[in-house]
Amino acid sequence: MSEIQCGKKNKQEPSDNYWEAVLFEFLQLVIGGVSIGCIYALVALGFVLIYKATEVVNFAQGDLMMLGAFLAFTFITILGWNYWLGALAAIVCMFVIGNLMDRAILRPVLGQPQFSIIMITIGVGYIARSAAGMMPGWGNETYAISTPFSSQGMRLIPESMGQLVVSQTDLSVIVATLLFCAGLFAFFKYTRLGVAMQASSQNQLASYYMGIPVKAVFSMIWGISAAVAAAAGILLAPTTLIDTNMGFIGLKAFPAAVLGGFGSIPGAVVGGVIIGIIETLAGFYLPPGFKNVAAYLVLLLVLVVRPQGLFGEKTGKRV
């Protein structure tokens, strides 16, 4: 996996105020961290959506992201479609794939022990990775998707105050994540189907009694989850390029989901951003190597100190 590009350091002549430079350096790192954290947030969001509804932890989430990125690569680079059209098509395709995955692979094992279901998702991940490697035109190389966003920095504050820039790529990730979260929030809160999805994840049996087609609703949730993963993959592509193993980033989204409180959607987003920031800061200020383990150190710490996470819900049933 290619190294994730973190915040850009500004090689500036030591100005009159040393601490100001340190502060701007820190802020610059945070901006980079937020951007990569948004990717974690989107992948974690996928984890949480599926977990909340079906109590399945989908270890193939990262690989769904990889598939989404490769589909976008196919549409945009190989077929030469417009970027937005290609991205949209990839997201729609992944929605269908996620939906079918639930119908074909997970629904038949409904009612089996959790362990077997989790093993199946891990297996699906492996298959997806190998299949992507075998596809004509895809293969095990590293590819780039041409995007309309430049990696050139844009000033956030006037030059007289200091150097603080954000690249268009980073900005696109942050804005897209915000839009996705807002869209999902509105969908779950205000649409009939969205509320029915919440209902099915809160009480499956009662949802059946209400006439909600719970199985179909679960497939829809898998679809949404895969679509969000595809979006994450497409947004990540300019930063890390795409290859068949990019799905391992899903493993970093896992601490993000736990930090936010597994099962909380806002938690997943906040957790993702925090993990992104911590990772970037650790990569800069701590000795080499800490960047890769920082997320897991946070995971361990959270499990010890606050196992329910930041936004975890602890409620008992009233009898």
Binding site: R192, V195, A196, Q198, A199, Q202, N203, L205, A206, S207, Y208, Y209, M210, G211, I212, P213, V214, E313, T315, K317, R318, V319
Partner: protein
């Protein structure tokens, strides 16, 4: 009794190898309240679950409105017009009271009618209107029971299945809820199949009753008659028979054994 809207014929349902109901038949006439009484583990809930499709019977049939509905998915059964108010209320704890009601009307499309039914339900349970925006998980047990009944009503069912509406409620609330159940039956003509442990209130609310013991129906009659029977009085209503000697005859058996 061929015009019954819900007919259960000789169903047998198993939990794995364990038989829970052994050949139960019952009829629910349109516009009436029918109750099934029984102790813990008699199979009352299992009957309702078999009717609503959560459990599949090994044998027998369930005929609703002239159509066989056994072994179908519960959401399909519900769309035929059978609403189930489950045991233990099972509201959606993190949805608002209003959204819970909307979920009850999930299968309906007519917005105006749904809005009218929300008004209707609120007139029966005014407390729910006050709590409209609160998450259902924050309601008291009695309010949750009211919500569960209202939610089932929102589907405009032909028949409601009520599973132990008195569970875990104070005697005053039980009275209140059963009064509303009776009103719904009289004013809205709602047909109900009511399963209950609280025999006293159930017999005073319902029109017809079945007595269930370990998976079999051992007695069926109008509730007026059932209330007069010695066995019911002694074993279900707890009224003791003071014999000639002024003492309880401890050897007395139930007549159906």
């Amino acid at each position: 009794m061929s015009d019954a809207i819900l007919k259960v014929r000789n169903i047998e349902t198993y939990y794995g190898p364990i038989v829970a109901i052994r050949g139960v038949s019952l009829d629910v006439q349109e516009g009436s309240i029918v109750t099934v009484l029984g102790a813990n583990g008699a199979g009352k809930t299992t009957i309702l679950k078999t009717i609503s499709g959560v459990m599949d019977p090994q044998k027998g049939s369930v005929i609703f409105d002239g159509q066989e509905i056994q072994k179908q998915d519960p959401d399909w059964v519900m769309r035929q017009g059978l609403s189930h108010v489950p045991e233990g209320r099972e509201v959606f704890p993190f949805l608002s009271v209003y959204d819970n009601l909307m979920m009850g009307a999930y299968t309906r499309k007519d917005r105006d009618e749904i809005a009218r039914d929300v008004e209707l339900v609120n007139s029966y349970f005014p407390i729910l209107k006050e709590r409209s925006d609160q998450p259902a998980g924050q309601l008291s047990g009695g309010e949750q029971q009211m919500l569960a009944i209202s939610r089932a009503l929102m589907a405009r069912p032909k028949v409601m299945l009520l599973d132990e509406p008195s569970l875990g409620l104070s005697p005053r609330l039980v009275k209140e809820i059963f009064a509303i159940i009776k009103r719904l039956n009289v004013e809205q003509g709602m047909t109900m199949l009511l399963v209950e442990q609280n025999a006293n209130i159930a017999l005073h609310t319902a029109d017809f009753g079945y007595v269930l013991e370990v998976g079999r129906i051992v007695m069926e009659d109008t509730t007026a008659n059932l209330l007069e029977k010695d066995d019911i009085k002694e074993f279900y209503l707890g009224m003791q028979d003071h014999g000639v000697r002024g003492k309880r005859r401890w050897k007395k058996r139930k007549t159906w054994r």
